[in-house]
């Protein structure tokens, strides 16, 4: 089990900016897949590197199975931590063969296993990732996907307590990425190894994880199971980052929020009082688009701007006033551009949350996580 408490790390870059990870706390239970999700520069890789011991935090404690590996006055160096790590660039050693790459962690350990034992463990690890038979091949001769598996095999050969992965799929092309996603999930569930995963891709996060922590500007803004994050995002940022959403800001009033020239009926999240700024976050699949008004509550008229046929659905963009609403319709629906349509926001899917000011596609320029 991994426990992180109150982690804080600051960098000064050449450009004078200050990168920080501030007050990060989370726990990962044994065998669970935990993902740090966020945009570039949010601090997720820094957090992972602190867990690995590649960065030394200024404050906070990291405990692995109740033993402190990083804390005030104590810091276990990376090589002494029982971890396996897959880097974004894979970091395969080009001057070694596949076998030597995977055997390296065994050979440098405090009590290296015998030659026969090493052979067995390496072959086992390679079999896990589907690279058996390629032992003698020089590592640079592997394809991108194979190198990624090699990195994984190397990380797992010692059967470490915890597996750390830093955006391992981002260098693969789309199809390969999908395949690896599936294999990775299956592998982790099968081995039951505690895993921490870093990514900016919410699809990966949702697919792979037991729990996700969404990070923004060095802090965890929400943590929970994928379902919970999707259904009940705590802020606009989380809503936008996990899944797609239409943002409807307004002022909170009795029974809903004031927006679109009227009142949109919705539930109110805890702590939202009348007069405060509220935000309605709507998922496209929950918005109904009709060619005729249906007379239901929360129905608004608008103009259809885009109706794109995507095979399993119609992706629509409807303009209501100065709001652009993303919606979906059944693929057979007959809709034409610039047609007047009626959009319903079903009450059961409407909950207003506090407005954190976040808007989609209004990203400020942030620094790269990897800069030191």
């Amino acid at each position: 089990m991994l426990q992180v408490e109150g982690l804080r790390k600051t960098f000064t870059t050449d450009r004078g900016g200050v990168r920080a990870v501030e007050d990060i706390s989370f726990t990962v239970d044994d065998g669970r897949f935990f993902t740090l999700l966020g945009p570039s520069g949010c601090g997720k890789t820094t957090t992972l590197r602190c867990v690995a011991g590649l960065e030394r935090p200024e404050a906070g404690t990291i405990r692995l199975d109740d033993a402190v590996v990083s804390g005030p006055g104590h810091f276990t160096p990376t090589y002494a931590r029982d971890i396996g790590m897959v880097f974004q660039s894979y970091a395969i050693w080009p001057h070694m063969t596949v076998f030597e790459n995977v055997a390296f962690p065994l050979r440098v350990s405090e009590h290296p296993p015998s030659k026969a034992e090493t052979q067995r463990m390496v072959e086992g690890a390679l079999a896990l990732v589907g690279l058996e038979g390629l032992e003698e091949r020089p590592a640079p001769q592997l394809s991108g996907g194979q190198q990624q598996r090699l990195a994984l095999a190397r990380a797992l050969v010692r059967r470490p307590k915890i597996l750390l992965l830093d955006e391992p799929l981002s260098n693969l092309d789309a199809k390969l990425r999908e395949r690896m996603r599936i294999e990775l999930r299956q592998l982790q569930r099968r081995l039951g190894i505690t895993t921490i995963y870093v990514t900016h891709d919410q699809g990966e996060a949702l697919f792979l994880s037991h729990r996700i922590a969404v990070m923004q500007a060095g802090k965890i803004v929400q943590e929970g199971a994928p379902r919970d994050l999707y259904r009940a995002p705590a802020s606009g940022f989380v809503a936008d980052f996990v899944g797609e959403a239409t943002f409807l800001p307004g002022v909170v009033t009795a029974g809903g929020i004031r927006a679109l020239g009227g009142v949109v009926t919705c539930a109110l999240a805890d702590g939202l009082a009348s007069g405060e700024k509220g935000l309605l976050v709507l998922r496209p699949e929950n918005i109904v688009v009709r060619a005729q008004p249906a007379g239901v509550p929360n129905e608004f008229a608008g103009t259809l701007r885009v109706a794109a046929f995507l095979g399993d659905r119609l992706d629509c963009v409807v303009e209501i006033g100065d709001l652009l609403v993303r919606a979906r319709a059944h693929p057979t629906t007959q809709l034409r551009r610039d047609q007047k349509v009626w959009v319903e926001f079903p009450i059961e899917h409407c909950t207003a949350i506090p407005d954190d000011g976040w808007r989609p596609r209004a990203l400020a320029r942030t620094f790269d996580d990897e800069e030191s």
Binding site: A52, G53, L54, P77, T78, Y79, A80, I83, G84, M85, F87, Q88, S89, A91, W93, P94, H95, F104, P105, V108, S109, A151, R154, A155, R158, L164
Partner: protein
């Protein structure tokens, strides 16, 4: 660590010592000792009237003499004229050849490129001796027909003579630097001029030339510093001709008797000051030139100027250069090596050719010792430099240790120290510190290692920067401590860069004269010094034979080691 585990269980707290701290600490100490101590001693020596820093008696007399002496102004003037003259000449020749090879359509470009680099193999002393043969006032190869036909001779024992020899010798360096500049120029800037209807000459004058100015200025500065630091030409040509520059003055103030060590140190300090100043200005100039940056790193095929009828002239010029710079000196050395006493060639001398000189150098004890010493020193200094700078470069690039910038700086400092200044500095060090290595190979090793540190650090840094940091982090994540990471992951990947540096240092160490001349003894004589010494005994023909031998040796070494180095690169 079994020991620390036991200790910990017993409740004793041991300080954690790690291989990396120990090795880095040792490397840093060694670096500091090699670079700071000699310079400090030089300064102390120049301010002392005693001849050991332990015997320090403060005096400004040395500097007074160096700066205000009537002769000193002349010395400064000579040095500056010599430096600039050689720099300009080298620049003119080098740029001309570079332009022809890189920017014109003269045929046989790869041949000219190779030929232009050949003189780099020839050591300075050999080159100077060859030109001595060619331009000796009465009996030089060039002067004899000149006298016969025109009644005058060009005396090599003059400032123009010195400038000619040094300029010719340094021209390949100018060639290398300028051809790199030409190669990476963005031709679209010139093409834009062409589409604006400017003819080739106008384009050259108004676009090419101004763009090249920063590079040209910096190259000129490097050439200047090179020239005033040189020892061979001032010693072999300048001394007999009574033209003194700083390097020869350092040498002579030691060789008068009683030897004046303090004065030598003062001259050394002045020369160092000039050298450092020159390089600082150079850095300032090149930094500012980033505004003009046309070096984009992309592989452009540069536009070539069509010479048309001028092609014949260009080829003629290149051929003349090849003859004057390469063929003539080699020929005269070959000739001189096969005669008994050096005289102007004639039919009768050609009939009296002998192998006497070669048998001499094959059997002469001192020469054989010199060869052995040179090879041994070359290998040893290359190894030490490569090992030391690999560690220093790693510290500078991979760690966040405070003061690592200082380490990097120190490793580069020796490039500003002229060879003979290092020699006099080391004399002072070992007059003071009771480590008895003067006159042995060890002091030469110290000198060589110090001189070649910058080359090592440049290679090692360049190599490490190209190796992704994550490769080492992955090793740490796999459980490897510093030493296995350094030796099993970093070093194998760094090997091509390290081998390249090793080979380069080995080869250039064979030509070293400036430091060796002050620090050697009969036991530790090296090749360049042997040639210098033989000249003292008037054995010119033997010198010629030894020079030919040295050139052949270097050519073979370069060929073999490049072949080896290339293969290793491919393997990695």
């Amino acid at each position: 660590m079994a020991a620390t585990t036991v200790a910990r269980r017993a409740g004793i707290r041991l300080p954690a010592w790690r291989a990396d701290i120990l090795i880095v600490g040792a490397a840093a100490l060694l670096l500091g000792y090699l670079t700071i101590v000699p310079l400090a001693m030089l300064l102390l020596g120049s301010l002392s009237s005693g001849s050991s820093a332990l015997d320090f008696r403060f005096t400004l007399q040395n500097f007074q003499r160096v700066l205000t002496d009537q002769a000193s102004l002349e010395l400064l003037a000579n040095s500056v004229m010599y430096g600039f003259g050689s720099a300009l000449l080298a620049f003119a020749i080098g740029t001309g050849v570079a332009w022809a090879v890189e920017r014109s359509d003269v045929p046989g470009r790869s041949i000219w490129y190779g030929l232009a680099l050949v003189p780099l193999i020839v050591p300075g002393i050999v080159h100077t001796i060859a030109w001595l043969f060619l331009l000796s006032p009465e009996i030089g190869w060039i002067n004899t027909p000149l006298k016969a036909l025109f009644g005058f001779s060009l005396s090599v024992y003059s400032l123009p003579g010195m400038i000619w020899i040094e300029g010719l010798h340094t021209a390949p360096l100018a060639f290398v630097l300028m051809s790199a500049a030409f190669r990476t120029m963005d031709p679209s800037l010139e093409e834009a001029a062409a589409t604006s209807r400017a003819d080739p000459w106008k384009t050259f004058r108004r676009i090419t030339l101004p763009l090249l100015l920063p590079t040209a200025a910096s190259v000129l500065l490097i050439l200047f510093v090179r020239a005033i630091e040189g020892f061979e030409v001032p010693a072999i040509i300048g001394l007999p001709g009574r033209i003194y520059v700083y390097t020869s003055r350092i040498y002579t103030s030691l060789n008068q008797y009683p030897p004046n060590f303090g004065l030598s140190a003062a001259y050394g300090a002045i020369l160092l000051f000039i050298s450092v100043g020159g390089l600082l200005i150079h850095n300032r100039v090149t930094r500012g030139s980033e505004r003009y940056a046309t070096v984009t790193g992309k592989a452009y095929r540069p536009r070539r100027v069509e010479l048309g009828r001028l092609r014949v002239i260009a080829i003629g010029a290149l051929v003349s250069y090849a003859i004057v710079a390469i063929a003539l000196p080699l020929l005269v050395l070959l000739y001189a090596s096969f005669v008994r006493i050096y005289t102007v060639p004639s039919l009768e001398t050609l009939g009296e050719l002998t192998l006497r000189n070669y048998t001499f150098i094959a059997t002469d004890e001192l020469t054989r010792r010199a060869l052995g010493n040179s090879l041994l020193l070359g290998a040893a200094s290359a190894t030490v430099v490569v090992a030391l700078t690999a560690v220093i470069a790693w510290v500078t690039i991979r760690t966040r240790l405070p003061g690592r910038g200082v380490l990097d700086f120190l490793a580069f400092v020796p490039i500003t120290i002229p060879g003979i200044v290092l020699g006099i500095s080391l004399l002072w060090v070992y007059f003071t510190i009771p480590i008895r290595i003067y006159g042995t190979l060890w002091i030469l090793l110290v000198a060589y290692v110090t001189r070649y540190l910058p080359y090592g650090i440049r290679s090692a840094s360049g190599g490490i920067v190209q190796i992704h940091r994550e490769l080492e982090e992955a090793a740490a994540a796999a459980g490897a401590r510093w030493w296995p990471t350094f030796t099993q992951v970093l070093l194998p990947l760094l090997r091509p860069a390290l081998i390249g540096a090793w080979v380069y240092i080995f080869i250039i160490s064979l030509r070293e004269l400036g430091s060796s001349i002050l620090l050697y003894s009969a036991d530790s004589v090296v090749l360049a010094v042997r040639i210098f010494d033989l000249r003292d005994s008037g054995n010119y023909t033997t010198i010629a034979a030894l020079s030919v031998f040295l050139i052949v040796l270097l050519v073979i070494l370069v060929a073999i080691l490049q072949r080896l180095g290339g293969r290793t690169v491919r393997e990695a």
